[in-house]
């Protein structure tokens, strides 16, 4: 089997509010798949359907070769899940919860549990009510990562973790990547995290799949924004293709560059002489805005043609 997850035209509405509107998602076995979208795009709803917690209104979903709703109990032996907002039982210690979740899932690797506790610097003796959000998140993460499963469903797992712990999380996921056959679906709205970890990415918006592919394939969507202070006024930047939103004020310059135009643009700046330079990778928001512009432009063109 080469596809760990496949959904086709998944539809789900909560009352009158549509959550998913024909969502397609394909995750290949053994890959780390980024699942990106702004708040309310339907990431969590999709994952809940994949977990058999919600029943889809229409469309099909396959998970590890089974039906997520009907075979839920069987499938759950083979997967682990970390919700984006973990609530623990107030009077159970973190260690108890990790063991409980492991037991309910059918056992967990003791050595790995100890190892992860140390790496995530979690005190398993504290009661659930005493943990901060980040620590509650760690409890669920350790329970999931220490269990021997084929598929990890992680719903914004780093929300609440400090940068140091985010780093640990990335390392651990990279190790997972090296272990054979482990598939990870990583939902996130942090592009950097997805860029660092994922083989392929699916971007959704308002319950629909907007883009899917490898990050390189999605590069056409991304622009880097550059702000520089130069030795003198630049010339000829506007003649370069792939440079957008150019704003020159004396020796200060701001522009957004397509990634394949970046090289030429920077050469141009260096020729003039660079005093300071700030380059910003495209944020997910920009990516969405950009995508939104593209689809709108395409829509307008389409309208013109049909006229």
């Amino acid at each position: 089997m080469t596809e760990a997850i496949r959904t086709d035209a998944l539809v789900k509405a909560f009352g009158h509010a549509p959550a998913l509107d024909g969502l397609d998602l394909t995750v290949r076995t053994g890959e780390v798949h980024g699942f990106l979208g702004p708040n309310g795009a339907g990431k969590t709803t999709t994952i809940r359907i994949l977990l058999g917690l919600l029943h889809a209104d229409a469309g099909t979903a396959r998970l590890l070769g089974g039906d997520p709703w009907h075979d839920a109990t069987e499938l759950h032996r083979r997967l682990a899940y970390v919700p984006g907002d973990v609530t623990l039982w107030p009077n159970l210690s973190g260690g108890e919860v990790i063991d409980l979740l492991g037991r309910l899932r059918g056992g967990l690797d003791k050595q790995r549990r100890a190892d992860l506790l140390e790496r995530f610097a979690l005190d398993p003796r504290k009661k659930g009510r005493a943990y901060s959000k980040g620590n509650r998140q760690k409890v669920a993460l350790i329970a999931a990562l220490a269990s021997d499963v084929e598929l990890l469903l992680l719903d914004e797992p780093t929300s609440g973790l400090d940068p140091l712990m985010e780093q640990v999380f990335r390392e651990v996921i990279r190790e997972e990547q090296r272990r054979d056959g482990r598939t990870v679906l990583l939902s996130s709205h942090i592009l950097a995290e997805v860029e660092a970890l994922c083989d392929r990415v699916t971007i959704i918006r308002e319950g629909r799949t907007v883009e899917t592919g490898t990050l390189t394939e999605l590069r056409h969507l991304t622009r880097t924004s550059i702000r520089a202070e130069l030795a003198g006024p630049p010339t000829g930047l506007d003649s370069l293709s792939g440079v957008h939103n150019l704003d020159v004020q004396d020796s200060r310059v701001r522009f957004d560059a397509d990634n394949d135009a970046l090289d030429a643009a920077l050469r141009h700046l260096i020729d003039v002489g660079v005093r300071s330079l700030v380059s910003q990778p495209p944020t997910l928001e920009e990516l969405f805005l950009r995508h939104y512009d593209l689809t709108r432009a395409a829509g307008a063109r389409h309208a013109e043609v049909s006229r």
Binding site: F14, L51, L53, T73, A80, V86, L92, L104
Partner: protein
């Protein structure tokens, strides 16, 4: 039955979480009941004294009707409110382990592991049924230890356990109906309250000799009273009590099967997208009174307003309640009425 996979492990989790409160309420109720026996025997040694004590509408409402004057009958009569308390604890326990778990998202954490769709509900009911059974057994043993007849003691334990079972199942149904634990508690408590009031109505009517004493039989609380421990135990009452419990539990499972995790069977209407218009106001009024107005009607973009005028004289307040309507933009008198005028009573009532 894959829908029940993992129920045992979840029961263990409930017992682990609740071991202290559960042990505590079971023991406290047991000790109270056991202490009743010597103290009531002491204070009311004769049949006449017991009958006289129980012949009181207030006590009939609170405890039910006295079936006989033996010590066992008197003790169970005096403990007539305990089934309500057991029912209350049971329904709260079930809701705490079902709807509260869903509301907090912990159910989702568990639902992603190897547990069946109905395991959570089944575990909450099983644990609560079990706790009630333990309570019943301990009460029976306690009563026997006080030299009360064994059959009656057993029936008394069964009466309490049955009350707990029925209302545990009521809690399970209520937990399916709303998406908040608070709402579920409201529904279940209303049912408990109604059951209690039905019994009161039936028992008072029975005491007065009018024909509505059958109302008690409609109430689960009244029903378990009809087991009549120490007074020719009516064991067959167990059948309707257990039947009602099974029916309610089955309804809860059926409702739960029809819905997703987290949302309720009945979806709540969308919540208000804006804050209420600020309605409460004060302004000076001719004659030195201050008129304070506050929203009184059902919330909406227009709100009906009650006004009261406070006199400056310290002697008291002059009050008028007069509905005005206001839109979110401004004030207007009730349609049809002219500019508000000071009623004559204000001047004099000060």
């Amino acid at each position: 039955m894959t829908t029940l996979t993992g129920t045992g492990k979840l029961v263990r989790l409930i017992l682990r979480r609740d071991r202290l409160p559960m042990a505590l309420w079971i023991l406290v109720i047991c000790l109270i009941l056991i202490s009743y026996v010597p103290s009531l025997a002491d204070v009311f040694p004769t049949a006449a004294a017991r009958r006289q004590y129980a012949d009181n509408a207030g006590f009939v409402a609170l405890y039910g009707r006295l079936s006989g004057t033996s010590l066992g009958e008197f003790v169970t009569w005096r403990a007539g409110f305990i089934p309500v308390i057991v029912g209350l604890i049971s329904l709260l326990t079930v809701i705490r382990h079902t709807r509260t778990e869903e509301e907090t998202g912990r159910r989702e954490l568990l639902g992603a592991t190897v547990v069946g769709r109905h395991a959570g509900l089944a575990a909450a009911l099983a644990a609560t049924f079990g706790a009630n059974l333990v309570l019943g057994a301990l009460v029976a043993l306690g009563m026997i230890s006080q030299d009360l007849p064994a059959a009656g003691s057993l029936a008394f334990g069964v009466e309490l356990a049955a009350a707990g079972w029925v209302f545990a199942a009521v809690g399970a149904v209520a937990a399916q109906l709303t998406d908040s634990a608070g709402g579920a508690r409201g529904i279940a408590l209303s049912v408990l309250g109604a059951a209690y009031l039905l019994r009161v109505a039936g028992d008072l009517s029975g005491e007065a000799g009018s024909g509505l004493s059958w109302l008690s039989w409609l109430s689960p609380i009244g029903l378990v009273h009809q087991i009549r421990p120490y007074s020719g135990e009516r064991w067959w009452i167990l059948t309707p009590a257990a039947g009602l419990t099974a029916l309610l539990a089955a309804a809860a499972v059926a409702l739960s099967a029809r819905r997703d995790v987290a949302p309720a069977c009945c979806r709540p209407a969308p919540a208000r997208p804006r804050g209420r218009p600020a309605c409460a106001r004060r302004w000076p009024w001719p004659g030195g009174c201050t008129v304070a107005c506050w929203p009184a009607g059902p919330p909406g973009s227009r709100c009906s307003v009650s006004c009261s005028a406070v006199s400056p004289a310290a002697s008291g307040t002059c009050r008028i309640i007069r509905p005005y309507r206001t839109s979110s933009r401004g004030w207007a008198a009730e349609p049809g009425s002219s500019t508000p005028t000071l009623p004559p009573s204000w001047a004099s009532s000060g």
